[in-house]
């Protein structure tokens, strides 16, 4: 790949990246050590290493995802957030990221606790089950919600632990972590008004993105 081509592909990465990934990348300090749990095909890892100079490592369950990452030169381990986070030593990273994966873990609380043990910070993004579209589907149709972003039927969904933004904040309090930043994104990826009260976030945010810190 020539320099020009690489530059073009960098642009493409930024243009193609999901808004929540860009937001997460902006929460990470330059040159930090980052572990991305459930890193998929490595889009965020690449964004972080190429744009923020981050020492980025990943964990991914699917062989395909891992292969894609390794082929891109990313350091990625095949592993399961529920099982393999316990193998990581304390304080190995500055940030541990879990993007759009919390709701698919078997033990979300344990996963979050491990993240804050391994990293000084944790960044979590997740779909908000309190969004008004989901509420209205349940209210008026009386059936489990199926939306554009959450397109699975109830019986084949990998998402076994949905929560609302308020539920998540409750869990963060329970495990004694601190919220350094919290952003709710609407369905177009634009942040919900920052000074809006919690119930507005919980109603109009399609997903929540939180930067957490271990309480000292």
């Amino acid at each position: 790949m020539t320099e020009a081509q690489r530059h073009l592909s960098d642009e493409a990465i930024r243009a193609d990246a999901r808004v929540d990934l860009l937001l997460i990348a902006d929460m990470v300090q330059r040159n930090a050590r980052v572990l991305d749990v459930g890193c998929g095909d490595g889009t965020l890892l690449r964004l972080l290493s190429e744009q923020r100079g981050v020492d980025a490592r990943g964990m991914e369950l699917s062989q395909r995802g891992v292969n894609d990452c390794v082929a891109k030169g990313l350091s990625v381990i095949q592993g399961d957030a529920d099982v393999d986070l316990q193998d990581y030593p304390d304080d190995g990273f500055d940030y541990v990221i879990l993007s759009q994966t919390l709701q698919a873990t078997r033990h979300p609380r344990r996963v979050l606790e491990h993240m804050l043990r391994i990293g000084r910070h944790a960044i979590v993004s997740f779909p908000n089950f309190g969004h008004w579209r989901i509420r209205t589907q349940l209210m008026f149709k009386g059936r489990m919600p199926v939306t554009e972003n959450l397109s699975y039927t109830w019986y084949d969904t990998p998402n076994i632990h949905f929560c609302t933004i308020r539920d998540f904040v409750g869990l963060v309090n329970d495990i004694g972590a601190r919220i350094e930043r919290g952003v709710a994104l609407d369905r177009y990826g634009a942040p919900v008004r920052v000074n809006a009260p919690w119930w507005v976030w919980n109603m109009f945010g399609e997903q929540g993105v939180f930067l957490l810190k271990r309480k000292d």
Partner: protein, 393 residues
């Protein structure tokens, strides 16, 4: 020529390879011996090796390949004894993942082997006869130290990559632990940081088969030309089963009969799997020395990398700058994924840069030698990225 004659001439060729190999050779004089873990020096030391590709001016593109138990230095050329193609031609060659157009590839026969590096069939300078069992017991670390002597001799300071499967993977891990500053990247495939009790047990069965053959003669069979071929063939047959998965055996052979429509009610090789194993055994003894089989299996048994670091594998890799790509296979029950995971866990604890892929295949332990597309693409991707980081064009 009758088949027995062919076998005889092939064995003679194999014996010749131990002393005067058809391969590149470097000889270190008795004044520059290899200090062995057993506590005694071995010298003079002969190392037989092959190279492919061209070393660049900065000497920064050298890849060392470490071979497995019964492998040798003939990675990507016709084998001088069997006439078969190199054992890793799926991986190594022009345009292949370990690309001979980009990298300078080195592979040497291990110490204790029988393809030209000093081993039990080599002449012991103090007696003028083959060493037999007078060669000190060899360890994985001895193999690696011998390779380091060769790398020094070639004037290479840092290896761009050290790669290998099975026992080769053990050497890769030993290299990374012993010479962290000389290994830019490492690919241990289907390997482990220590040999399991089950694997030691399998090796012991193989060694006992060799030693139970009366032709073994306490290892002094070179002198009268009788070889423990039956014992070594049985050892190989037993070992070969451990290299394959049950699914692969079933797919390939099932309960199919060999050239017959009904069982013969005898102990002839009725089943295809029997015939296949017999063939594996008899073709192996034509190219491999029985005493080497004892030595090299022993080296694997003794391997326990953590033991040198107070029992902590993480300590073995502490602060390493080497980039690792660890690979295992789902159907490998000889070096199962849990062994690779233990290595990955230790590397993570040591803060190393590590990738880990468990490749889904039913080909068992032997998968590292075979045309497994995910293995090839993983290696290609990892090496390509490492090459960019190393500044290789």
């Amino acid at each position: 020529m009758p088949s027995e004659e062919i076998a005889k001439s092939a064995s003679a060729a194999a014996h010749l390879e131990a002393e005067t190999p058809r391969s590149l050779v470097v000889r270190f004089p008795e004044s520059d011996p290899l200090m062995m873990d057993a506590g005694v020096p071995v010298g003079p030391l002969q190392i037989a090796y092959q190279t492919y590709g061209t070393l660049n001016a900065a000497k920064s593109n050298a890849v060392l390949i470490c071979h497995a138990l019964t492998g040798d230095q003939h990675v990507a050329n016709e084998h001088p004894v069997t006439g078969k193609s190199g054992w890793w031609e799926t991986m190594v060659g022009p345009g292949k993942p370990i690309d001979t157009d980009r990298y300078f590839i080195i592979c040497s026969n291990v110490i204790g082997g029988c393809m030209g590096t000093t081993g039990p069939a080599s002449i012991n300078p103090s007696t003028g006869l083959p060493y037999g069992l007078d060669l000190p017991v060899v360890t994985i670390k001895d193999m690696v130290r011998a390779q380091a002597k060769l790398v020094d001799y070639l004037g290479i300071d840092t290896l761009f990559c050290v790669a290998g499967g099975s026992m080769g993977g053990m050497q890769v891990l030993q290299w990374a632990a012993l010479y962290p500053d000389r290994v830019f990247s490492a690919i241990p495939i289907a390997a482990a940081a220590r040999h399991s009790s089950q694997n030691i047990a399998f090796h012991e069965v193989g060694r006992q088969a060799v030693m139970a053959d009366p032709d073994w003669q306490a290892g002094r069979y070179y002198e009268n030309g009788l070889k423990p071929s039956k014992g070594l063939a049985v050892a190989r047959m037993a070992a070969h089963i451990t290299y394959m998965s049950d699914e692969a055996l079933h797919r390939k052979f099932g309960r199919k009969l060999q050239d017959r429509s009904a069982p013969t009610f005898s102990f002839d090789a009725d089943f295809q799997i029997e015939s296949y194993l017999r063939h594996q055994g008899s073709s192996f003894v034509e190219r491999f020395d029985a005493n080497s089989y004892l030595y090299v299996t022993r080296a694997m048994d003794y391997f326990d990398l953590a033991a040198d670091y107070g029992g902590s594998l993480a300590q073995a890799f502490k602060g390493t700058k080497t980039r690792f790509c660890v690979v295992s296979f789902t159907s490998d029950w000889l070096f199962p994924t849990s062994d690779s995971r233990a290595v990955v866990h230790a590397l993570n604890a040591g803060g190393a840069s590590v990738s880990f892929v468990e490749i889904e295949t039913d080909k068992g332990h032997d998968a590292f030698l075979l045309d497994v597309p995910e293995l090839l693409s993983t290696t290609r991707g990892f090496l390509g990225a490492a090459a960019r980081a190393r500044g290789l064009a």
